[in-house]
Amino acid sequence: MKHLKSLNKKAQLINQAVSPEEVEDVVAMQTVVGCTATTDPGWELDPFGGLGSLCQPMESDLYGCADACWWPAQVPDTMHTYPDWGKDVAKANEDWRKLDGIFEDGE
């Protein structure tokens, strides 16, 4: 990077960001409050290392994870990115098959 010169403001900001002394310490979000707290059940393992405390069945938890941007890697984020994902499915337990995956190429 030292041989490259930033030409505009954005590039200057990127240069600043990659400077080690400018990078802020990463602090573990131990007390998360409200979104993906560490003892929340996830989609793979519960806080006890098992499956019994995951939300059950999966379809009862779909909108709870989507609407509040709770697990945006596992289900579409309907708050920001994919607001229409569940548009025609009011009850996920009955019509979860209609809730399709998201494909970036639109296919």
Partner: protein, 368 residues
């Protein structure tokens, strides 16, 4: 209770005098409020456990957060991905209030945070703004936003004050302090913006043997006790080696009395299973009920779990009737499960037209 039902009850009982009939007709009416997809506010008559009316909320679903006016006749809800606020007269579904929080250059999200002032004149949200610039988004300082409810359908922010990040559920005390559920529990004066610590969590000082608390404030349905409960999980280690296998794991609660603004914080139960939300029994503040994959009953004065009842699916939240006899368990799917609070046995169900997702279950008590 509707007059028709009162008369029906009087007929069954036979010997109901005019005096007691009048007192029944004047009795408080309890309504359970929740929101379902695609975006409807349901007003459920808790005397018959039937849907009294369903109000269409404009815009897409918005996580289902509900705040009540002090007289409980109006409900304020977050809609459109929590960007907008609508107010309803729950007696007839009339829309009485609207505030669009976002603008073309700034996106504002309010993660569950909505409350009404003690005098019913102001509405509060915590706004998480993002400035939308032509080449990037800039995250801005979260703020408490104040609206005048009398501004009606074109309400604009009248005051703002900076607040912490990560604030979700908020509530108002009788002295009109806004309780902010965040990494720590704080209170803000919505006239001056002055902030005080109500109950430390992330910054608690319990020493090196305690795991920093992992707290949760997605819901707080304490209207029957007029309180705010924020559950958290922590662990007490037997040494500074922090052996998770031998640690004592605990549920704790930060609990604010909304009458006085005074808070307590304590570890109340062994952490044995997941509970998303607690609600207290109006007859005994030491008796808590919790919901998730189980419905459970606890006596926190003895730090004991009394009953655990398996549920057919996950339910995020719950509420309780004013007499403490009936539990309503909801959230997630499209049914509210009704249970006897003594035994936790299921005694009924209310089928809704869509999923509740993360919606609140609020009890509105309209006093005659």
């Amino acid at each position: 209770m509707k007059l028709k039902n009162v008369l029906k009850s009087a007929g069954v009982l036979g010997a109901v005098g005019l005096g007691s009939l009048a007192s029944q007709a004047m009795a408080d009416q309890e309504f359970l409020l929740t929101i379902t997809r695609p975006n409807q506010l349901h007003v459920i008559d808790m005397s018959s456990n039937t849907i009294a009316r369903t109000c269409d909320i404009p815009g897409p679903f918005g996580t289902g957060s509900i705040a009540l006016s002090p007289d409980n006749t109006h409900a304020y809800v977050l809609s459109n991905g929590t960007k907008d606020v609508y107010g309803f007269d729950i007696r007839n579904c009339d829309i009485t209030f609207k505030a669009e929080q976002s603008s073309p250059t700034e996106q504002v999200i309010s993660m569950q945070s909505i409350a009404v002032s003690a005098d019913g004149k102001e509405l509060y949200t915590v706004q998480n703004p993002i400035k939308k610039l032509s080449d990037r988004f800039e995250v801005e300082q979260p703020r408490l936003a104040v609206f005048n409810i009398k501004d009606g359908m074109d309400a604009k922010v009248v005051r703002t004050f900076p607040v912490d990040r990560r604030i979700t559920k908020i509530a108002v005390t009788d002295e009109n302090e806004v309780i902010l559920g965040g990494a720590d529990l704080k209170g803000i004066n919505p006239k001056t913006g002055e902030v005080r610590m109500v109950s430390k969590l992330a910054s608690w000082e319990k020493g090196p043997l305690w795991l920093p608390p992992d707290a949760f404030a997605m819901h707080s349905q304490g209207e029957q006790m007029h309180e705010y409960i924020m559950p958290y999980v922590t662990a007490k280690f037997d040494s500074e080696d922090w052996n998770f296998e031998t640690a004592e794991w605990w549920w704790g609660i930060s609990r604010v009395d909304l009458k006085t603004g005074k808070a307590t914080r304590d570890e109340v139960l062994p952490f044995q299973f997941i509970i998303f939300n607690f609600v207290a029994d109006p007859r005994n503040p030491d008796i808590l009920y919790g919901s998730f994959n189980t419905l459970s009953k606890h006596d926190i004065s003895k730090k004991e779990t009394l009953i655990v009842h398996d549920m057919p699916h996950t339910y995020y939240d719950l509420n309780i009737s004013g007499d403490g006899k009936t539990l309503y368990v909801g959230g997630t799917s499209s049914d509210i499960s009704i249970h006897d609070s003594d035994t936790l046995e299921k005694i009924g169900s209310i089928q809704l037209t869509g999923d509740m997702s993360t919606s609140d279950l609020r009890v509105a008590t309209i006093r005659n």
